[in-house]
Symmetry: D2
Subunit: 428 residues, 4 copies
């Protein structure tokens, strides 16, 4: 076999690899919608919680916009107005439908959106099979972004459905057949110590990573401790029972103002019925398990809890140092629980990946040397680098192959509809 | 045949009459929804425009609440929470879901709501067949209200669908198969004179009427003229072209403030595309016909137009005097146009019934001697007697057997999503 | 003396009459401000409550705009931007400063506004002395409007000061030296009966009246009763204690929504301190006297109270029939109480003039035959004829020579910062 | 002299030192208000811009609350409600008047607030003379905070006055007698380079510093460049002329949304009149000087400008490294310009202190090891550590003895009413 033959073969292998990956991700998006009635795809009950239908279409628009239009000769958009309807926020691509009005769209119907997906899938397979060698590296790069993008929206699909169904006084479940998660006692809270010094952080370049995880760079850290497991519901009840939601001395000023404005008296999805705490889950309303990890608290609540506990939240770099050597395993989406589970027994840092996104005390800002890439794809992450906080580690609805130690998620400090929880840290 | 037998027979006839009427109205509500996809039933794009699904359920709740619970022994509610979900505003019945959040409900599904309707229908037929003589008169009274109530919601179903579908940039039609309405030239605008003096107005008691149409009473009127037909689109374009929407001297202060706040530059559903005026209809976007009656203007716009034209709007009593002797005929829903049509030629007052609800200069207030009835049904009309204006005559989406000369409709002065238009009046 | 001499003499008398009237009104505006510190002139704590300083300037702008500019040759505006700052709402005169931002103006200082007033006064005296005979009738007409306008603002000055000072937790009094109003027991509530039929209403043309009081016209009325005195604080406490503010069945829908939105649990200025009801007055906080007339309730509250009492509010025409033959006497501003007083004993209708503006059940709409006058002065009353309700009879802060039986005041149904109370009516 | 005598002497010296410092700062607050009329003290035109009167009282309340109540035996509050009125945000001290309503207070009058100040001053002098040795160290600590606090409010007094006077269409000047600032050409923009590595930052403990400047700690920095002078108005006009305010690609997402919401098309206080750019200053409206430093831009604008310029903002640590060895000199308040001035010629980093607060790309977060102090004084800085960005270096209205290299100021990213400008940075 000549060198040229070998290269071709490798490219053929890559084509097959990407086509397989593409079909698997695309199929998974549809599978996640299997429990839905047509009506469930439509609703949006808060600006941040897009309709399921919109997610299915938007991820297709992403492939259409950033791959098919640029690289598949003769490709024709499925519909001339879908660019307007399903562009999320890419100003450089063109105008878009207001985010808060995504629930105003009864049409296109679910059926038409599935036809849209099929149209895009057919074209994408053609592209992956036939794209010339010169553009293939760029295609591979964008394929990776497109598939990771769709995986992010798979997670959002579930978090948004949870919020949207919860707005209904009937509290319908996403899945009526979801088995109860395993019970048991959480292990005692321990602390693992880390030395100070100059550490490296950020993506190493040995696999896919978003631009905001780069460049890898150095950071100076004082010695610190990380809690060996997540804060539990029971521990958080201690905070509530001790007046956590009525004592402004524990809160950031903006947090206290938010609590007052929104009338918070506990985490999202918690309800006290006849003196018993209950919790809405993707499987419906269930009794609160004090041993399970706390979930659906905002940064403000996480920070107030840490203050009450006499500790603090870890910084990004501390969290990443803790996660650096660990295998990426845990209660992620593919475990099938769709809810945080009681920490296992065992040594070292537990629950670093999965269960809940862990609040850090770090603002979402560019790493030293980061520059936003030119063009619309540069809007993916960079333009949100203000006003938000970083969360780490993925959750029980994050795809298992979508998370890594350097992954930076980010939300506004008042938001809590994602699966968000707390790991404490402390100065050494 | 004895007297007692005759009474029984008359009651049996009445039972058959009501059952027929009931089934006809109920069937019609479903028929109006035939063009809809499941997704279309769900959306609400403004607080005043309820989802189609909600209308279908609410009218059933009305029968359940005001007839079945009180008069059908052993009746069991279809669902324990539907009272909360589908009560519109009856404070005395209990708490209800916030109006602005009706579009948050993906469940109950359309299918379940149809089961709800069937459940109520079955029980209603049982009630109408078996109710005892002692309660029958009250049952008949409530049946009449319940069926008129459902007819009102049939009209709202269409007006709300129009608004909800229009919020979609794709501008989907309610019915793709709606034929174009007949064209032609509107007759010249004429004036019919009426003498002054003491006139009677209000329902005569010889057929169904709402409480707000009573008591019939006297009112003193100066001599006046009524225009023989409605204002046309072409005439209103004259107002627009003459600076109608930029000259505050023509407007009420609240009207001008509303125009500025909402950015009005023409009636609802009008759009100028490449210099050509178009209009969204239940059959989709169509070119504006200058001969057709103007539609979808608020009271503020109607009042400004009349000022510009050197005329005024009629009062309630003037309109009712004009309508008193006329047959209740016109372009009502059952004509099948679902849109105002060009005025026919002919003498006398044209278009008094149908086409568009006609703005009056009268505030919606109780007639002399009116007292709100006790109990929740008393909330039907009376509690809205503040801040709204009266409109008369029904529109192209009003059921033909639902309108009469004494009928009082009412909306806030800024609202214009109903089929609302203008007939001018003048002092003699 | 020739006819020509007589005419001249009459005109000279008229000039003296108007100059005297002008100086008296202008002087009174300043006298009302005597208790104020410079800081008190500046604040505006709600869009409807203009600063005292603004009132003093606006009424001067009115003379400048509608008299001096048009009729005093060579008149120069005091300041080129005062037209922008002190035009209230006359769109045809030009742009104006937003109403809600009147409290943003520390300059012009009080001192400069007093100079502005002196500048206008000097010019007005010159105008009244020297105006030619041809324009004199129009000048007289506008003088009458201008002086009545300033009197209206004298009342607003006090009602606005009351609201603005009340926003201060220190609850400073407008006047610390205001003597307590006389006490005593209110007479029993009686009813006076009036026959039905066609009645005339509106200004007779035998003295100054606003355009909205005309034309005088006929109206048909059913027989009715009017309460002989105003509702007292004690009677209203009965409504509160019977759950008046927690029972939606008593309220108009918009009223109930307003109560919930604003958190009403009693009239404006009422506060319960340690179980004792207190009331803020222009003389400071005082203990609530149950015998005094109720004051500072909105139309919504008045309507709910009447419903609770099994009565109703009078209509405009009913009130005017009741007032028609009565002398214009009562607890008006010039009595010096600045607060409603206990009804005197005596026969007939008591308290028809003064004490509180009496809510009617009539919407503020044009009288039959009314047309807005052309030009900016036509904006005085006509453009507000939508969405407001009529009140009658003047209050304890209305100038004694500013009220009459045909006078129509108007406010939005939620407003209650004016001295507004209740007289009940009933069907005969 | 014995050791005990020496200690006493040193304490006596300290008492004199603090009394002098106290009187100087207190006197300066009053002097800054000399140009004001009584009316100017009252107004608040935005929630963030407190009335001058309020500042004068609040700083006195600070001494009353944190020194006199705790340490001066027999001290009596000047007024029982001033604690409510003039507490800014100290939740642990008690309830307080809503920030947005500070302009609702015409009373206490300016005169009464000056009496309040005199009352506090008299008591403070007594305290400083007579306090026992045991509590003296804590008193000195709080005195330092109290005086620095008052100096901060002196700066806010000027920035707030500027905003409040600007809301007036008359655009009154704070001082009519303010001389024009010196003109000339700004030197060319140069760059100074700094090596990377582990650097120390934060207060050294050799003088007063706020808690948020501590603990001094290490930070790793890559090599970088700092611009030798501030961005000028002329340079910023280049950004505007190049479409800076219409190109979303240059902006953070939140920044672009803010620009659209607030209608920004240039910095605060800039106005284009007949094609000529003008700028409102504390001396009134003046023609924009392109050589002067840019002032009154938000973080969003600073970030967009840096993106457009192909550079970035410095981080906190970079700025502090640059400032570390420089004398604290510059166009600070005591230079008397009250406006930024053209950069001088000279080597090294120019304008690091004074002129404008310099935006950094660092979020305002606690330094490693920072813990909020217990008690109400702990609320001074710590509870604001979320959602704001750090600015450095002081401005032309910062007291000259109030600024230092480690000083951290912080504002929300949309705020721009402080004297805020831009120094660019770049990666090496």
């Amino acid at each position: 076999m000549t060198a040229s033959q070998a290269a071709t073969t490798r490219r053929e292998d890559a084509r097959v690899f990407w086509a397989d990956a593409y079909l698997a991700v695309r199929q998974r998006s549809k599978a996640l919608c299997a429990p839905l009635a047509a009506e469930d795809y439509v609703i949006q009950t808060a600006p941040e919680a897009s309709p399921a239908k919109w997610h299915l279409a938007h991820v297709s628009w992403f492939f259409e916009t950033f791959l098919l239009r640029d690289y598949l000769a003769g490709y024709r958009d499925f519909h001339p107005r879908f660019g307007y309807l399903f562009n999320s926020y890419y100003e450089q691509v063109g105008e878009f439908h207001p985010r808060a009005h995504r629930g105003f769209l009864s049409r296109p119907s679910v059926e038409e959106i599935l036809r849209y997906r099929a149209h895009v899938d057919e074209a994408m397979l053609k592209l992956m099979q036939g794209a010339g060698g010169a553009v293939w590296p760029e295609i591979e790069k964008r394929l990776a972004i497109g598939l990771n993008h769709e995986q992010q929206h798979q997670e959002l699909l579930l978090t948004d459905l949870k919020l949207n169904l919860y707005a209904n006084p009937l509290r319908p479940a996403y899945r009526d057949d979801l088995p109860a998660v395993p019970g048991g006692l959480a292990p005692d809270l321990g602390w693992q110590s880390f030395p100070g010094g100059v550490h490296e952080m950020g993506a190493r370049g040995d696999g896919f990573a978003y631009d905001n995880e780069m460049p890898r760079h150095r950071s100076y850290v004082e010695p610190f401790h990380l809690a060996t497991r997540l804060v539990t519901n029971g521990e958080y009840l201690g905070f509530i029972d001790d007046g956590g939601y009525v004592n402004p001395a524990l809160w950031l000023a903006d947090g206290w103002a938010t609590l007052k404005r929104l009338g918070w008296s506990g985490p999202l999805y918690w309800e006290r019925v006849d003196g018993v705490w209950q919790q809405y889950t993707l499987g419906g309303v269930r009794r609160l398990d004090p041993e399970q990890p706390l979930c659906h608290v905002s940064y403000y609540e996480a920070e107030a809890y840490a203050t009450w506990a006499g500790k603090r939240l870890p910084t990004e770099v501390e969290w990443e140092i803790g996660a650096a050597g660990l295998p990426v395993r845990g209660n992620l989406r593919d475990a099938g629980h769709f809810h945080p589970v009681v920490a296992p027994t065992g040594g070292g840092l537990l629950q670093m990946f999965g269960d809940v996104w862990e609040h850090t005390g770090s603002a979402y800002l560019p790493y030293p040397g980061f520059r936003t890439a030119p063009g619309a794809l540069g809007e993916y992450n960079g333009k949100f680098m203000c006003g938000q906080m970083v969360l780490r580690g993925g959750s029980c609805v994050t795809p298992a192959d979508h998370i890594r130690a350097s992954y930076r998620n980010f939300f506004y400090p008042h938001e809590r509809w994602q699966f968000q929880g707390i790991r404490l840290a402390d100065d050494a």
